[in-house]
Symmetry: C2
Subunit: 338 residues, 2 copies
């Protein structure tokens, strides 16, 4: 039995939970090695099992370290669970209401984050994959020759993805953001078919063996842009330097937020300072004002302060850090691209 | 007030529902024109409102036809709803359990598919966009020169996406499937870094102005593959010809399934015959054995029978049809690529 599964079964037992239902694809992949393509119900219990869509039986048999069985109906699945004497069932907080509704009359339901909790601490092998994904993404970024690029936002985004795939990524880890000029004040801007203006903000990442990377660089020109860039860089650097095992996540957010506020841009920092990543691009915990999670060795979290001046421009600078005693930035791409 | 919103407010009123909470991005886009990038709570009621993440305020103000307000907390949102006298709240069936749990103690909750139901029937403008997406995707496919291609599965998939974007798509409508040889027996195969073998199965689509297309072609070589191809083509053609307004969706599935079963491959047809598409690549209703929805004018549904011989190969042929009195195939890409 694999280590992840073993740890989770221990947590379940401690809580007196008899069975834990997983439907999130990356949670099932994390536990079993099999990533559903259609739907699946993974039930962690004394004898773990995955009910798999008929479409997926071939890959589930090939990839899963847990017993798989073809899904037939909710009724049959519920009947089989009840026959094993299962009365209480834990679910993921993300389970769709309509799926919850199928189980709620037959079981005592509680929502639990056992797998998310386990996924917070990355194994050396997971860290290796995230590191490789980051290296591929950063190398590809440098191939863009961004300072001499005459293409459109969309073309640059497309080339970046092509380079990442050429360099060994399976795909981008989220929709690549290449935004420029006034659009850069939108944190989640969609690349447009317009020539690059200035400043240029690029937020991008690769997936390598299922694991994500995430970086942002902003290239500024005018002096007014450089001033903002310097503040964001200070927030970025000092937030990273502040990280220590045992601190709370919200304290790191506060470091970045206070610096930006001191310069008078508090209202222009409109998102959190960072999020964990792994099999998903957004995982818990995050460096946000509300996250009281204690920082532990093995967490992998982004640090990405930004200042957004509506209608003018935005600056964001992002690196991903691995927590050992302190925070170590992954990769060696300079903040300042020139 | 827009037509979609108006129709939904009528449905809500008829059921005695006071407010309907939407969190799915495409549902919010459908109603308001604003597509969230982070999270949002859209509440349809006498005075509809969208609570928007701070990150999205700039685009929400720009794009939404409904009043927007910055989200602050669940508590505040719930307080404001209660102050309006709202006691019963409808939710989408897909709402995550943990969000449902935030509302369940303050409101009488029911899950409703008002927006999904409205989205089943496409307007002429929506049909135009789906048609354009399909035309872009099919034109791009022909540019591949697939029969003379010496690339890997992954390269072909990549080129296809590049052509679609060059031809005006904003992106692919789902992860392009280019699979060949024995892998083609996996309905949702992931393109690999291996040279194309035979047969070649390609399942692809474009997004144009938010709307998806979906097609599949399989190119076979050996006579044993041609036999299977002919059966699938017969199921494809006859299922499409059978469609009539007033029939049930499951009856169309039965037409395709019966043909494949008659030839002895019933157990190798491991998925449904089709799904609706629009702003999402998978919408309701679908041509599946369990879907009793009555077919209406304005629906847009795929027809995609397949036969999968584990460890050997698979064949799937897919077109998307618009329902008027009968089903009209979108685009003019021949089934037989040569």
């Amino acid at each position: 039995m694999n280590l992840h599964l073993n740890n989770i079964l221990k947590d379940i037992k401690k809580d007196g939970v008899q069975a834990y239902l997983l439907t999130q694809f990356t949670n099932i992949e994390y536990i079993s090695g099999y990533k559903p393509t259609s739907f699946a119900f993974c039930i962690l219990k004394e004898n773990p099992i995955i009910y798999v869509s008929g479409m997926d039986m071939e890959i589930a048999n090939r990839d899963s370290t847990i017993e798989v069985k073809q899904y037939e109906s909710y009724d049959l699945m519920i009947k089989e669970l009840k026959e094993e004497g299962i009365k209480n069932l834990a679910i993921e907080p993300t389970l769709p209401y309509s799926t919850y509704a199928r189980f709620k009359d037959d079981f005592e339901i509680s929502d639990k984050s056992y797998v998310d909790k386990q996924r917070m601490i990355k194994t050396p092998s997971e860290i290796e994959k995230i590191t490789k994904a980051t290296e591929i993404a950063q190398k590809s970024f440098l191939q863009l020759d961004i300072l001499n690029n005459n293409g459109t936002e969309r073309e640059v985004a497309f080339n970046l993805v092509r380079y990442m795939i050429d360099n060994g990524a399976s795909k981008e880890s989220f929709e690549t953001i290449v935004t420029s000029g006034a659009n850069s004040s939108l944190p989640h801007a969609i690349p447009e078919a317009k020539k690059l203006e200035r400043p240029i903000l690029i937020d991008w990442g690769a997936i390598f063996k299922g694991y994500c990377s995430d970086n942002t660089r902003t290239i500024v020109y005018a002096e007014s842009q450089q001033e903002i860039w310097d503040i964001v860089a200070e927030a970025h650097d000092k937030a990273i330097k502040s990280v220590k095992v045992g601190m709370k996540c919200c304290e790191v957010d506060k470091v970045a937020r206070d610096i930006i506020a001191e310069y008078g841009y508090g209202d222009n920092y409109i998102h959190s300072t960072g999020h964990s990543l792994g099999l998903n691009i957004h995982e818990t915990p995050g460096f946000s004002a509300r996250d009281e999670t204690v920082i532990e060795k093995g967490m992998v979290i982004t640090v990405e302060p930004g200042i957004y001046l509506e209608g003018k421009f935005g600056v964001r600078l992002e690196d991903t850090v691995i927590i050992s005693k302190k925070a170590n930035v992954i990769g060696d791409l300079p903040l300042n691209i020139e």
